[in-house]
């Protein structure tokens, strides 16, 4: 099928209306809360770290692990599993929390995060951690690997899907766009990219480091089925995943879900921190963080 036919198969940027049941939302919201809690546990061991990113991305991680991925926690290398690639290695703290929530990594192990001889190094590495598919951390690699994985799985008759987690900073890297072109060219309907857009990178706000907007139009022009949602809105996230799956099944086109998130989400003390990329959190503040997280979750849960 010529690729330009694919390009015209569905309207771009339109979010199809999908009913998301309250049970699904509650389940994922609870998982996201526990992921945030795990991230604080790990952050406290170090006294610092990429806690803000883990809190911001917790809803995305909860949604993909709790609602989308097909995997066996007791057999992380199960051949038929869906693949989740963490391209952003420094988000490992969030990924470990999700792996603990998913039952792949024991919860007790989280407190070894970043320590000597731990299976949970500060940057995600496939040789260390069960469930970690790639060694990220040098950014802009994940989507290139994802293209090959999706091609390879499809060629071998597998119906497994590939999910690649990127951050908006990774959109700076040219390799990301090479992969975006490759995925569309090869009509990889089994590939879904998730981009955490927290508008922040190492040297400062993304629009002052290297302006990446308009992001939605970029992905659309590269031929991807593109949806942009509030990445901290579980209903919107789940609907976007449903749309992506339906779109993939219908026309075989890669999907991207662009998720606007807030660094430190769920812990007001950290949401407004000036130095947010690599946070230092004082010893007495961890308890406040946990209390704020729980209060926010319970407030939401009872609302």
């Amino acid at each position: 099928m010529p690729t330009d036919t694919v390009h015209d198969a569905a309207p771009q940027g339109e979010i199809l209306q999908t009913a998301v049941s309250p049970e699904r939302v509650d389940k994922i919201s609870a998982a996201a809360y526990r992921i945030r809690h795990h991230a604080l546990t790990m952050g406290e061991v170090q006294g610092q770290g990429y806690v803000g990113q883990a809190l911001g991305a917790a809803d995305m991680l909860a949604a993909v692990y709790g609602d989308q991925l097909r995997f066996r926690p007791e057999d992380p290398r199960w051949e038929a599993r869906d693949r989740f690639l963490l391209s952003t290695g420094h988000y490992a703290i969030g990924h470990y929390a999700a792996l603990a929530e998913a039952g792949v990594v024991p919860v007790e192990e989280l407190e070894t995060y970043g320590s000597d001889y731990s299976r949970l190094p500060m940057s995600g590495m496939s040789t260390y951690t069960p469930g970690m598919e790639i060694s990220g951390g040098s950014l802009g690699h994940g989507l290139t690997i994802a293209v090959g994985l999706a091609l390879g799985l499809r060629y071998q008759g597998s119906d497994a899907r590939v999910f690649n987690f990127l951050s908006d900073g990774e959109l700076d890297e040219g390799s990301t766009w090479e992969a975006a072109m490759g995925a569309h060219h090869h009509q990889l309907g089994n590939l879904t990219a998730m981009v955490d857009i927290n508008a922040l990178q190492a040297d400062g706000k993304t629009d002052t480091v290297l302006r990446t907007e308009p992001v939605t139009e970029k992905w659309e022009s590269f031929g991807w089925y593109t949806q942009r949602v509030d990445g901290n809105d579980v209903v919107a996230l789940l609907a976007a995943f449903d749309n992506a799956a339906a779109q993939a099944a219908a026309v075989g086109r890669p999907s991207v879900i662009l998720c606007d998130t807030k660094v430190g989400r769920g812990v007001p003390l950290l949401e407004n921190r000036e130095k947010a990329h690599f946070m230092r959190i004082e010893e007495h503040e961890w308890q406040i963080c946990r209390e704020q997280l729980t209060a926010g979750y319970e407030g939401k849960a009872s609302a």
């Binding site: 919860v107 190094p121 500060m122 940057s123 946990r290």
Partner: protein
Amino acid sequence: MSTTTEAPDTAAAAATPAKPKLKTSAMIASFADPGQKTSNAPFGHALVKAAQENDKIVGLTADLGKYTDMHIFAKAFPERFFQMGMAEQLLFGAAAGLAESGLVPFASTYSVFAARRAYDFLCLDAAEPNLNVNIVGGLPGLTTGYGPSHQATEDMAIFRGMPNLTIVDPCDSIDIEQAVPQLAASEGPTYLRLLRGNVPTVLDEYDYTFELGKAKVLRGGNDVVFISSGLMTMRALQAAKALEAHNVDVAVVHTPTIKPFDAGTVLKEINTDRLTVTLENHSVVGGLFETVASAVVTAGVGKRVVPVALPDQFLDAGALPTLHDRYGLAVDRIVAKVLAELG
């Protein structure tokens, strides 16, 4: 600290007695000894000073200004600083373009990203036309416990193959401060293995000045000669002092310029009866050891050379002191190796 799960009881967690603190792997770790004299951001301040005297100097980075001390320059000369985003091919291609326009760019990122991912752009855009593009690579060798994504253990091996490129592996803040204006003044591309943040100040205690392309004998010694570069010169000097207690007299030759290499000075020191040891913060493949070995063989000197270097493998993540001990860069490990060699 207790680990809580589904129903977090934060009060209980706070009341649990603290376990011994685990050693951790901060990305930006210091290799300075506790209490050691240091200088903050020597590269950034040296670049500002050089730029005050040379209005052609400009700075660039790839979303790592704060982490390569380039932010000092960016603040002093905002109009002469260009943020290229996390896009290393753009960073070095653009640096070449700036040089083509007649400017003298210093472009910073981590060594891994410069060496591994932007090589083609550096090689063809900057080195082949022999442009004055100055590459500034943070976290060289094993200076972070963050794992292989950030450990540039093979950066010199990669870069030594690039014609026209000058490679400088400074020991301390003195080396960096004195190197920056010389790198700016030298024609052709250069690579500075950047030590950033609070950088030890060591060489002020020796009769030493940095001269691009020159090796310097820092101390004499009758039994052993250390040939070292980078932060390992600091360790070499410490190990030499420690070996005095074992009645072992060690000379230290500092070779901050890896390419072009001052083979004359180094071979004069090696071609003696003393045990020769090279010390480098780099893989045993393709760095100082092989540079020295090549000089020795080329000159026809029949002489064994013992390397202190990182092993030819992807290294672990962990706390930096732990890793320096594990991979043999710690002073105690150097001392033990020398004593074993001397039998």
